[in-house]
């Protein structure tokens, strides 16, 4: 444990000086500042922020995480020739990247929000859902990135898979659900749609936030079923459990593979 913290400490020291991460912070800062000052309407701001958080953050996390492992290949070899075991190094590298990513996200979006807290007084639950979703997206997609880079020694292949995974969860998956709903529209498959949505970490993040607005009525019968499920405490608890699984499973699986791998 102690060694993990030491590795994390130096990785953070390295990553917070990285131009890329400073760039992400500025990107989030400018976007959220711009949204707040030009829209002024809290629900529009939150929905726009939500879309950015659910599209850009997974992309940044998975691409940056994958490249990070490949670029540090020789460094990983060097570290493993020290008296450090595999799982300490893997966890150290992971949290050493995740913590700076979280800081740049919370700082970039948080700062403009703090200065304009007044407009969010009615919708702070939805706003906090945006933040919680963002935190989970970073944890989940960085864990997926590490897993993909550990499984594939070829940089181009790994990066390709990462981008496909991102595309799958942001675009393809929803398309497939819509297709199913359309094909089987004569059957009551709302429960199936609900189940399928629960499997996609990005969809959970979106629905948790959207249902905090009173617009789920616009979503028809399916929306009602969703609200019925997600609106209840048990629904929210299950959603967070699924998000937690999406973080723990890829991380644990990656750790196990890394521990037995030939470097």
């Amino acid at each position: 444990m102690n060694r993990i913290l030491k590795i994390v400490k130096y990785q953070i020291k390295d990553n917070i000086r990285s131009k890329w991460l400073i760039g992400f912070s500025l990107f989030f800062l400018i976007i959220s500042y711009w949204l707040i000052s030009f829209t002024g309407d809290s629900s529009k701001v939150i929905l726009s922020l939500l879309n950015i958080v659910l599209i850009v953050i997974p992309l940044i996390s998975i691409v940056f995480g994958t490249i990070y492992i490949y670029n540090n290949k020789n460094y990983i070899t060097f570290m493993l020739s020290q008296p450090i075991n595999r799982s300490s190094l893997y966890s150290g590298l992971y949290f050493g990247l995740v913590v700076p990513l979280l800081i740049s996200f919370l700082f970039g979006i948080g700062l403009p929000v703090i200065f304009n807290l007044g407009i969010f007084s009615e919708s702070w639950i939805a706003l906090s859902m945006v933040f919680i979703s963002g935190v989970f997206q970073i944890l989940i997609f960085t864990a997926l990135a590490f897993l993909i880079a550990t499984l594939n020694d070829d940089k181009l292949k790994g990066l390709g898979i990462s981008i496909f995974v991102w595309l799958f969860f942001t675009v393809i998956y929803d398309g497939l659900i819509l297709f199913l709903l359309q094909v089987f529209q004569d059957y009551p498959i709302e429960k199936l749609a609900l189940g399928l949505t629960l499997v996609n970490p990005i969809d959970i993040g979106r629905i948790l936030t959207v249902l905090k607005f009173d617009i789920s009525a616009l979503m028809g019968y399916t929306g009602a079923i969703f609200e019925n499920f997600f609106g209840k405490n048990i629904g929210i608890a299950i959603s967070f459990l699924v998000l937690l699984f999406w973080f723990v499973l890829p991380f644990g699986f990656g750790l196990k593979i890394f521990s037995n791998k030939d470097i």
Binding site: R3, K6, Q11, R17, K73, Q82, P83, N85, N260
Partner: protein
Amino acid sequence: MIEIIKLNKSYGSLAVLKELDLIIEHGKITYLVGPNGSGKTTLIKSILGLIKKYDGNIKIDGTQINGDCEYRNEIGYMPQSPSFPENLTVKNIFDMVKDLRNTAKNLDEELISKFNLEKEMSKRLKNLSGGTLQKVNASLAFLFNPKILIIDEPTAGLDPVASGILKDKILKENQNGKTILFTSHIISELEDLAQNIAFILEGKLWFNGTLENLINLTGEKNLERSVASVMLGKVV
């Protein structure tokens, strides 16, 4: 002493090491020689625990290496092409390794001062030249007074002054009783270091003994020519 007993390693259908038996003697400088692709790097990686899936045994001072990482406290490794987190300073990387090894005492900082690294300490690693990076790399390998030193291409990227310093250091540590294993393709420059030659050919140990023995065996005039004649298949 490092004992390698019947080591087999293959990547898919490609067998890299085949029943390799080798003893790297305590307190000697062993020069690991072999053509490209003969399995030298695989052997070094196995000793360091970087390669986990192999058949056979590796014992260091009588203890078989397994999943535990603590045996690497006794090993200093100088990789051929090091890379460190690019935004850290030279001082950061020394601090980090000291922190991780958890030993502040008995440090050997001779190479840091001989290489004049003190004035580079505040520079970021991405701004260092390849040679300076190699000096940092060498200093880190010797820093903790390890019993065993494993050095991959020691003089690659170093200027003649620096490579002279490193060679002197290797000899000095050997006189202090350290076991040293190194590999290099620049044979003429390093043959005076070698006390033992371990010659690996196609994943097997082809020769293990002193320089004189190898030269006698091949009938050539120096190590470089002996190695070349073996690689060309003139000696069977």
